[in-house]
Symmetry: C2
Subunit: 105 residues, 2 copies
Amino acid sequence: MTTATLIPVFAALGDETRWSILEALGEGDASASALAERLPVTRQAIAKHLAVLQAVGLVEPLRVGREVRFRVVGAQLNDTAKRLDAIGAGWDRRLAAIKHIAESP
Amino acid sequence: MTTATLIPVFAALGDETRWSILEALGEGDASASALAERLPVTRQAIAKHLAVLQAVGLVEPLRVGREVRFRVVGAQLNDTAKRLDAIGAGWDRRLAAIKHIAESP
DNA sequence: CACTTGTGCAACTTCAAAGTTGCAGGTTAC
DNA sequence: GTAACCTGCAACTTTGAAGTTGCACAAGTG
């Protein structure tokens, strides 16, 4: 598991509109058309964002009748958070070791 | 503390070159020129990336003689991870509650 | 003092992402 | 069946990020 798979997730999370979508989905599943009614962008734009979010596993589609609702995948966020924390901890450990070496006589 | 301050951090982490810089800095502080010697981009490009990383608190500059070395700030990564985990947990809780209501008779 | 080295600023090119409009195709509901 | 609604695909515009080149300036080093 490298950082390579992590970068697209952050790229997906680095957009304000996508966060609006995620927050809206956090209150319940919704379709692209439903999201377009409460967000200031077109349905097609939302569809593109949903495709990006789905590609990195942050949302998943589920057909309900003739519409396609999207559900937010909290587990992917938690997993990303864990990996991020591990990386940060690794840096702190290494830098602390370097500092220790530099300060030793 | 809203997600508004979080988005620029993810945007900063959503670039491969910036991860290369962060990983290089994880092995020890370095200047923009030093980083340019081991990365396949120009020093000026690296300087721009360092400015972005510094703006979101992921690195911090420190003058050493006539050069400006940069240090990775692991604490910012850990803080970001914590906030991310909290958001994901909140979504899971809410969606679990919705599911529970839907399944109750 | 001259020379080297590291940094900073500015203009330019390039490319991809974000967003729009327009239209075609399915699926449900009546 | 047909009308209404939701989705999907394609072409287009625009804006900003990433990267480059070029030059000017500051600060150690000999």
